[in-house]
Amino acid sequence: MSNSSRCAACKSLRRKCPQDCVLAPYFPSNNPQRFSWVHKIFGASKITKMLQQLPVELRGEAADCMAMEAYLRVENPVYGSVGIIYQYQQQIIEVQNEIIKINGEIAVYNALLQHQQLQQHQDSFFSTDNDFNL
């Protein structure tokens, strides 16, 4: 097998890339960086084992997710993807609080409008123009 047909994994591991290489479909030779992340964080044998335990139709998704997790861990060695989760949670709280605040303002406007409408209704009811004099 020529060098040019080896997947990124086998190229990185300096081994022959067999026809049934588990990693080849998910780590093509044109993206060596993707495998280097995964190799650094999970290791080749771990990721091979994890993919092998999945049905073939799910392996692509799994490889993508593991590549993402590995990348996030390389970028943030302390928190990895958990750091992103935390940030999203914080942003969600901020947006929720802003919605609460705005809904509070709307409620105030509503209350004022209702109050004004009530006032206007009462005023027109007791107006001297009304022909209620007996």
Binding site: C21, A24, P25, P28, I41, F42, G43, K46, M50, Q53, L54, V56, L58, E61, A62, A63, D64, C65, M66, A67, M68, E69, Y71, R73, E75, P77, V78, Y79, G80, S81, V82, G83, I84, I85, Y86, Q87, Y88, Q89, Q90, Q91, I92, V95, Q96, N97, I99, I100, I102, N103, E105, I106, A107, Y109, N110, L112, L113, Q114, H115, Q116, Q119, Q120
Partner: protein, 211 residues
Amino acid sequence: MASSSNSPCAACKFLRRKCQPECVFAPYFPPDQPQKFANVHKVFGASNVTKLLNELQPSQREDAVNSLAYEADMRLRDPVYGCVGVISFLQHRLRQLQMDLSCAKSELSKYQNLGITAATTHNQHPNMGINLIGGGGGGGGGGGGGREHHFHHHQFFPREHQQQMIRSFDAGNNYDTGLLAMNVSASIGQLSQFQQPRAAAGDDRRTIDPS
């Protein structure tokens, strides 16, 4: 220190080796939490974890181990999506909330555009600070207020089994506040590169477009 001189840490117990005083795992894998190391070992491997920890300052290692333990746990519970499933869910939730926020702002601006500030003799609440001369615009009072589920003040957690997993990760006060300055959308924006084009049949590995 998690292990006494008599009791090996969970890592050394698992690996069936003597727990040395300078064991790098001992502070973070106490013997009463064997599953923590078992999970981390299964997903990342002991030597990778050692390497990762050795690249960090000692003050960062506990957080790193806890986050690795969480990731490992999530990956074992969801072998396809792992933590990325949680991230996707939160992204979606945030987008929904941002749309809700946009609707609420739009609703508010309708009210703000309704009235011209003016004191009226009928206004019995002069200190209210917001005076409205109402047209017929008393409707739309629901605004966003009908959506009670947005009013939760508690820390948001994903639902179902993921909820339990998030809670089991003790974030506590250990997060570096510098993280809050990170640009989440920039990080996630780059992640489309992780999606590899795939052929319909998983075995047709050679059909991947090399370009």
